[in-house]
Symmetry: C2
Subunit: 183 residues, 2 copies
């Protein structure tokens, strides 16, 4: 298969700027933010954005991939009996800062091929789950799908519900108790 030629230096620079701007814009304003706004924030013309990412979905898919990879990496850095709880807490607390991820993870978004991008995150969380179960802090009856489901649901709830710190703590306390005790 043909490999596309390397980008010119200026094009590489612009591509990076666009991705950074898109991440900021979509995280703040959600996936509904306009491409125009991304271009403005990146300091390029709108045509340039579309040269690098032919459709808005392509752009969303690209930043999702980056964001998910980053989340997976931070999950990978944790471990031990409470690693899963720590990751869970962190993701929920920062839900607002990663609005785009939560947004798109939740709804099939704008029809992005997520599975591949989500894979690493799922794998990292699976690792944390395994460790927690080995340590006995999470019941053996719990499996990965429901952990991911809860992770996404609660993050999304926190984001859109604008939960304060106390509500986050209390809600997570219920979820964590459930993970420990599930019959």
């Amino acid at each position: 298969m043909p490999v596309d030629p390397p980008l010119r230096a200026d094009a590489q620079r612009n591509r990076a700027r666009i991705l950074d701007a898109a991440e900021a814009v979509f995280s703040e304003l959600g996936a509904g933010a306009s491409t125009e706004e991304v271009a403005r924030r990146a300091g390029v013309a709108i045509g340039t954005v579309f040269r690098h990412f032919p459709t808005k979905d392509d752009l969303l898919a690209a930043i999702m991939k980056r964001l998910l990879a980053r989340l997976a990496a931070s999950a990978g850095r944790l471990g031990g009996p409470d690693g899963l709880f720590e990751f869970f807490t962190g993701m929920v607390a920062e839900a607002a800062g990663i609005r785009a991820v939560v947004d798109l993870l939740a709804r099939g978004g704008t029809d992005i091929r997520l599975p591949d991008a989500v894979g690493p995150l799922t794998a990292a969380v699976g690792e944390l789950l395994g460790q927690a179960q080995e340590a006995g802090t999470v019941s053996d009856g719990v499996r990965l799908p429901e952990v991911m489901a809860l992770l996404v649901s609660v993050s999304q709830g926190a984001l859109y519900g604008g939960w304060d710190a106390e509500l986050r703590t209390r809600t997570l306390a219920v979820v964590f108790a459930g993970l420990k005790q599930r019959s």
Copy 2:
């Protein structure tokens, strides 16, 4: 304060049709569906929709109120030690059928004054929570806000995540265990 005069018979009929159509359309397509589509489904001209509901948000607010009242009523019909769990399970299972509610409950939506409309639902769930705690099926440490938060989050997760019956069951098992055992 002035009371608006009673509607003419045909206007009443149209108003009801519009509400029914809006409920169907927004439940199927989400809050993003067009007013045009609502008018088509109701069998009236678009101008008629806007005569009854000056803005799209007014229309959304109206059906939200109906839907929430209906949910509150169904919660009111339940009771006993497992009433809360039953209501929870039912709402999550039907999340897809009430897409509009979940949609708008979650995000402040299109800026609708929800508090008033949500009140009755919260009260009904509070009643179920009280009964469950009296019966000992839910820990006394649990309070209403986190129950509502979980209810909304998990419903939304199920809706957008397209959870199958098994995932719903497994996820709810974790939540219910948490409600029982919360330290």
